[in-house]
């Protein structure tokens, strides 16, 4: 064997093992991805079967004939329109309310000095330490006392003041230079003008984070609706679907899964159009 071929052999050996390593890495990641997406794909495929077939004894991966009958069925079995409207109302009002109040409070904590500011902000942050499940009993009493039990307001009002959103918005406003406000003051703008026409418009990316987080959380939430809502006409989508699943006699698997798929659609939109913002917001809490 000449030295030349030996060198050539050695040279080709490394890339091969490296290629093998990276291929096995990708294969492993692909399998993990299959486990992650598989259940969702199965849900979508099953929801596209007619209501009777999905009760069959042999589970099938690919539906024999695609149909939207299960979607029609779920709208007949529960008042899906009402569930969607209720969920949308709660979600949108919580999100908008949180964006407005968090922007206002975050701005004050970042840009306006007053005595006791640090202490007050510390107290606001401290409320994040106590889990919502612990305060739910007194909150329920409070809501009852206000005459709001079994209304959508029972979900919306307590969710609007947000410590985490305030924290995020304060961070955001701290990142905007003080000189902007000083320049506005020299031009004769008062504190209100300075906020509304200088700082607030610049804070839209921060607001988007607060809004998307709130949207995702409240669209999906289950615990508070379960406690606060009694009559079915006030149910939100997750609560309605769990109730429908509970009365198993009434619905076939495909029908209920059609409802589940519908409940995923808004989250999917957020995922496609606001994924970056959502990721930023979700990890923001860890940099405290």
């Amino acid at each position: 064997m000449t030295t030349n071929t030996l060198v050539a052999q050695q040279r080709s050996k490394r890339p091969l093992s490296a290629r093998l390593a990276s291929t096995s890495k990708i294969v492993f990641l692909a399998i993990a991805a299959l486990f992650t997406l598989g259940p969702v794909v199965w849900t979508i495929l099953t929801s596209l079967q007619p209501p009777t077939e999905s009760l069959g004894a042999t589970p099938s991966l690919i539906p024999k004939d695609l149909s939207f009958e299960s979607y029609k069925a779920v709208f007949q079995q529960v008042d899906m329109v009402l569930l969607i409207v209720n969920s949308a109302l709660v979600t949108l009002l919580c999100a908008v309310g949180q964006m407005i109040t968090a922007a206002m409070a975050g701005y004050v904590f970042a840009k306006i000095e007053f005595r006791g500011r640090g202490l007050l902000f510390g107290l606001v942050l401290a409320t994040m330490m106590v889990p919502m499940q612990v305060t739910i009993v007194p909150v329920f009493m409070l809501i009852r006392g206000m005459g709001l039990s079994d209304t959508l307001l029972a979900l919306i009002l307590p969710a609007i003041p947000t410590a985490f959103g305030t924290f995020l918005m304060r961070q955001y406003f701290l990142g905007l230079p003080d000189e902007l406000g000083e320049a506005a003051a020299i031009d004769g703008a008062g504190p209100w003008r300075t906020f509304f026409s200088v700082y607030a418009p610049l804070a839209t990316p921060g607001l988007a984070i607060v809004g998307i987080l709130a949207f995702n959380y409240h669209w999906n939430e289950f615990f508070r609706p379960l406690i606060m809502l009694i009559s079915e006409k006030n149910y939100t989508l997750p609560l309605g679907l769990v109730t429908l699943q509970g009365n198993k006699g009434t619905g076939s698997v495909a029908t209920i899964l059609a409802g589940v798929v519908i409940s995923m659609i808004p989250a999917l939109f957020v995922f496609i159009f606001g994924q970056r913002t959502l990721r930023e917001g979700l990890t923001a809490g860890s940099h405290r």
Binding site: Q133, V134, T135, V139, P158, Q245, M264, T283, S286
Partner: protein, 314 residues
């Protein structure tokens, strides 16, 4: 900020600017007050007062109908003696330990693979995929999983049947239900730790790995000697956040099993819910809630200690 000159010639403009400064200050205070009221007032009403209320209620017996009665520590004595409450706390701890270990190791492994040399488009696809379950509702996910894991018709048992495993009674046996709650919870939540790890790994400089590769360190050696120590601050943060979240586990076991069979998947929050809103024992529910809060605060305190002692900060 306007500066006030003290020379006598400038008296007039100075007092004028002092006037405007005072006016600005007043209007700034008004703005601060108006802007803070919704958040601070709201949090006081819906978080602070309820915390105090919970603290007080824990020492009372109250069923809403009759007036509250002071009972001292008897709620706490009751819950310690109650087998269901004890079981639910043990279950919660079991869920915390298992889900946190699984969640963190899956997330760190996948994050390390995704962050290593990969074509950019593949990296962004995998990043999106692993984060996807996080945005779904726990209720919807649990419904969908309850069908996937159905003993007779479920796809999971059908697939297991093909490799010779007889139908597993996922929802109808204690151990099956426990494993299923853990799997469903981890499936939905590992994406959060994954995101944290992606951030942590991205901050490790590439040169460290290149130097290690030149010295002939293998992939595994690089992971255990470089990645693990350098990512330890993120591991701490991720585990604390995961522990706190899983101490509050409710949606998955509620929808999947309602706590059953028996008490085998009943959790602390589920007992709070049942005590308060099914048995109308609000004092007892508050007492259980307090115990849970203390657990959560302990975790936070331990985090503070650990982060000073063990974690490597570059």
């Amino acid at each position: 900020m306007t500066t006030v000159t003290k020379t006598p010639q400038a008296t007039e403009p100075a007092s004028a600017s002092r006037d405007t400064a005072a006016r600005t200050r007043r209007s700034e205070r008004r703005l601060a007050l108006v802007f803070l009221i919704p958040t601070v007032g709201g949090l006081a009403l819906f978080t602070f007062i309820p915390i105090v209320g919970s603290l007080v209620l824990a020492f009372f017996k109250w069923d809403v109908i009759s007036s509250p009665k002071f009972v001292g520590l008897s709620n706490f004595i009751d819950i310690v003696a109650d087998g269901t409450v004890r079981r639910s706390f043990l279950n919660t701890i079991l869920f915390v330990v298992t889900t946190v270990i699984l969640q963190l190791s899956v997330a760190l492994g996948l994050a390390a693979l995704v962050q290593s040399k990969l074509p950019g488009w593949l990296r962004s696809i995998f990043r999106s995929v692993f984060f996807f379950p996080l945005i779904l509702s726990a209720a919807s996910v649990s419904i969908m999983m309850s069908y996937l894991f159905n003993q007779q018709f479920g796809l999971v048992n059908w697939l297991l049947g093909h490799i010779g495993i007889p139908a597993v009674p996922w929802l109808n046996s204690g151990p099956g239900a426990i494993v299923m709650v853990i799997l469903v919870y981890v499936w939905q939540n590992f994406g959060f730790s994954f995101l944290l790890f992606l951030g942590g790994l991205a901050s490790i400089p590439r040169e460290v790995y290149e130097a290690a590769a030149i010295d002939g360190a293998s992939g595994w050696r690089q992971f255990s000697r470089i990645t693990l120590p350098l990512v330890s601050p993120t591991i701490l943060v991720a585990s604390v956040m995961a522990i706190i979240a899983s101490l509050q586990i409710f949606d998955q076991p509620y929808v999947l099993t309602r706590g059953g069979p028996g008490d085998s998947t009943r959790t602390a929050v589920m007992v709070i819910y049942e005590s308060a809103f099914q048995q109308l024992q609000f004092g007892r529910a508050s007492a259980i809630g307090l115990v849970l809060t203390v657990l959560i605060m302990l975790v936070t305190a331990v985090q503070f200690r650990l982060s000073r002692r063990f974690v490597f900060y570059s």
